[in-house]
């Protein structure tokens, strides 16, 4: 395990912990953003350079800004308010997560690397935009198109959901408008 790997692991776990435990939502969001930035660097170290940059730009940049924006919009900076109706879930949740982690670890411990590291690295071609792009627009073209359509639908859906008139029928709207006039 190299020094980079070690530091990255520690940082990932630390920021992840902040993200799930911090009582302040803004802190949690910032922890998550940091987590994603580190994740991006890790991707690059794993010969996925393009993906790393996308991770940083899209995730740590765009998505996290969205999160923080919504947190601020809804005045939800204080994470946990009110009475927890399910107090037992705190410990049980931790237990289940731990068991899940143990299971995954056990499963992974049996796995063996199929290729020598250098061979695999050569196949990846550094994971540059050029290398990934040819695959993306080749065999995965339809998947890309589908995802594009999905993004469009999601955008429309988000707009519809947040639209202020949502929940009102056209007739009601007409009526209210008429009333104002």
């Amino acid at each position: 395990m190299s020094a980079f790997d070690f530091i990255a692991t520690v940082l990932l776990l630390f920021t992840g912990f902040i993200a799930v435990r911090s009582q302040n939502a803004v802190h949690a969001a910032l922890g998550l953003a940091a987590n994603f930035v580190v994740l991006g660097t890790v991707y690059m170290s794993l010969d996925a350079r393009f993906l790393g940059w996308v991770q940083i730009i899209v995730y740590a940049g765009a998505i996290m800004v969205l999160f923080i924006f919504v947190v601020m919009l809804l005045f939800a900076a204080r994470a946990e308010v009110g009475v927890d109706p399910l107090p037992w879930l705190k410990n049980w949740g931790a237990a289940v997560a731990a068991v899940f982690f143990a299971t995954l670890t056990y499963a992974l411990s049996a796995a063996k690397a199929p290729l020598a590291g250098t061979t695999a690295a050569a196949l990846l071609g550094g994971g540059t935009a050029k290398a990934v792009g040819s695959v993306l627009w080749g065999t995965w073209l339809y998947a890309v198109l589908l995802v594009a359509a999905l993004l469009l639908v999601a955008t429309v859906a988000a707009v519809v959901l947040v639209h202020p008139d949502q929940g009102q029928s056209r007739a009601e709207r007409e009526a209210s408008r008429g009333g104002k006039a």
């Binding site: 109706p85 399910l86 879930l89 049980w92 949740g93 289940v96 997560a97 068991v99 899940f100 299971t103 995954l104 056990y106 499963a107 049996a110």
Partner: protein
């Protein structure tokens, strides 16, 4: 060809509401007209065929347009078109007319499937399709319980016949390994030895034909089918659907020509049906039921012809019958229309004065039906009677009874005419003539009913139909009767027809003798066949159903208890559904863990 009316059905069925005014009827009519023209073009282009291999394992979806199929298809689409046009006028004020025309088009499409089929399963599709269409159309005014019941009766009685068809098909398949009609025909031509069981297969198919064509003993549905709108009666129960049975026999002529015994039964049943229908028709008071029973009787004639082996004559009669029976139905429709829904002939009479056009139509139809010389019905009926003598499966008995039935036919045709059009008007209201859209189809049909017979004249004149149909039918050796005999017979049957007409005229215009009144009472209820069926078959079945009902209730009680147990379990499980999403998520994670663990450890 099939696709056009099917398209009409789809369009009208799906977007029927958006068709305003008469456009639905016009569209439907145009579709049928298109089919007619297409048939004509294809037929004179030398026929056509269409095949989808391995539509079912080992059974292709085969359509074939040869002379026989084309002949039938022309009758179906031609007469069908006229009836469509008529229906535009007849159904003008009905709120459900786009639905009506959708069914109509569906019927035509299915009928064409039936006619064009070159494989029995395909034919069966059309067979069932027309059954369905007739069910829908008879019960078109389904708000009335009686109509719905009639529709159901027609459907159920037809099922009995269909079972025969299905079994016959299965048997044929097991005998020959194919159900394609042209292949079967080739096999039959080559092989000299008939496999055992062929007779049974023919008989089973014939049962199917009995059901569809309302022959004895499955004829009870047809008079009740008159509950539908009159154009339906005309289309289904006169011109096309009921002749499907005859068509089946003609299509399978290669089969029946080799089965003298079965053919004998066919002829016998046809003869008895003809007699029964004619007798029953004499006692009816409903204008349409009279015509319905006459249809049964005429179908009996066709079966007689098919039974004795004169397939082309049967088809000839199909055509002439289609003309004059459609004419009779449609003029009945005009009368009903004129009287605002009145169907009882006792409340008619004297309509000659009010409905001059319809009167002419009715007269031509009745004369043609009666076999008055030179009208279409005369030539075809006489051909049938003559065929009983010279075709291989015929005999003198057939001839004599047939002749007697012809007398009866003339009698009831005259009765219908006299009661409706002559004498004094006994109903209320002021009858009015039908609009042109209803009159014109009748004009054309009247021309057909009068002149169609000249397509096939006896020796020494021309006979177009026999020549035209010959390639599609099995050839049977026929000893010619000789011109003199034939014309003698012709003379005899015209004398009989005129005698019948005259007797009918005298009888029904004046007071009826007591003996006839007694007979009338029996005939009115169609010789109690319905009653007999109800007591013998329907009653016991009802009892059986009641018994089953009791058993069912016991079973139900068990299920109810089971339901209680399930309910208890459900309440227990419902406790888990606390409504807290996080609890659900918790269970999801637990389950995922278990799955992964199971996958890893295994």
């Amino acid at each position: 060809m099939i696709l056009l009316p099917l398209l009409g059905f789809l369009v009208l069925g799906l977007w029927g509401r958006s068709f305003k005014g008469q456009s639905a009827g016009v569209l439907a009519s145009l579709m049928v007209l298109g089919s007619f023209v297409l048939t004509l073009v294809l037929l004179f282009g030398g026929g056509a065929s269409f095949e989808v291999k391995d539509w079912l394992p080992g059974i292709p979806f085969a359509l074939l347009l040869d002379n026989l199929a084309g002949y039938m298809a022309l009758i179906v689409t031609g007469i069908g078109f006229l009836i469509h046009v008529y229906a535009i006028g007849y159904m003008a004020d009905d709120p459900g007319k786009s639905r009506f025309f959708a069914y109509f088009n569906f019927f035509i499409a299915m009928m064409l499937t039936l006619v064009l089929a070159d494989a029995y399963p395909v034919m069966f599709i059309g067979w069932e399709g027309v059954g369905l269409a007739s069910f829908l159309l008879i019960g078109f005014w389904f708000e009335d319980q009686k109509n719905a019941d009639s529709a159901r009766k027609a459907f159920i009685v037809n099922r009995i016949g269909d079972l025969g068809f299905l079994l016959g098909m299965a048997l044929l398949y097991s005998l020959f390994g194919t159900l394609q009609i042209s292949e079967l025909r080739e096999i039959m031509e080559k092989s000299l030895v008939l496999p055992a069981g062929l007779g049974l297969a023919g008989l089973l198919l014939f049962i199917g034909a009995i059901g569809k064509s309302a022959q004895l003993p499955l004829m009870v549905w047809l008079p009740d089918a008159m509950a539908g709108p009159t154009p339906v009666s005309a289309l289904i129960h006169a011109a096309t659907m009921v002749t499907a049975g005859v068509y089946l026999l003609a299509r399978s002529s290669f089969l029946y020509a080799n089965l003298p015994d079965v053919s004998y039964w066919i002829a016998l049943i046809g003869l008895l049906t003809a007699l029964y229908g004619a007798l029953s028709a004499l006692g009816q008071w409903d204008i349409k039921r009279i015509v319905a029973y006459s249809t049964i009787s005429q179908l009996g004639y066709m079966f007689l012809a098919a039974g004795v082996g004169a397939y082309w004559i049967a088809l000839f009669h199909v055509m002439t019958h289609a003309f004059y029976k459609a004419l009779l139905f449609l003029s009945s429709g005009s009368v009903i229309h004129a009287l605002g829904g009145e169907q009882d002939v006792r409340k008619m009479g004297g309509l000659k004065k009010y409905l001059p056009q319809t009167h002419i139509h009715g007269l031509i139809g009745a004369l043609s039906l009666a076999g008055f010389p030179l009208f279409a019905g005369f030539w075809s009926k006489d051909a049938i009677l003559a065929s009983t003598l010279n075709y291989p499966f015929g005999g003198y008995g057939f001839y004599l009874v047939g002749l007697f039935t012809a007398f009866l036919t003339a009698l009831y045709a005259m009765r219908w005419y006299v009661l409706v059009f002559l004498g004094d008007f006994k109903g209320q209201g002021h009858p009015h003539e039908a609009p042109p859209v209803m009159a014109w189809p009748n004009h054309l049909l009247a021309v057909g009913a009068a002149l169609a017979g000249f397509l096939a004249l006896p020796e020494p004149f021309w006979n177009l139909i026999e020549r035209f149909l010959a390639p599609s039918l099995w050839h049977l050796e026929v000893e010619p009767l000789g011109t003199a005999t034939e014309w003698g017979l012709l003379l005899l049957s015209s004398v009989v027809a005129i005698l019948g007409l005259f007797a009918g005229y005298r009888l029904f215009l004046g007071r009826l003798p007591d003996a006839y009144l007694a007979f009338q009472r029996a005939a009115e209820s169609a010789f109690y066949v319905d009653w007999l069926y109800n007591t013998l078959i329907v009653g016991p079945l009802k009892e059986l159903a009641f018994g089953f009902g009791l058993a069912d209730r016991g079973l139900d009680r068990g299920y109810v208890r089971l339901g209680g147990g399930v309910g208890l379990l459900g309440r227990l499980l419902a406790r888990l559904q606390g409504g807290y999403v996080r609890v659900y998520a918790f269970f999801v994670v637990v389950a995922a863990t278990v799955f992964v663990l199971w996958g890893v450890v295994r």
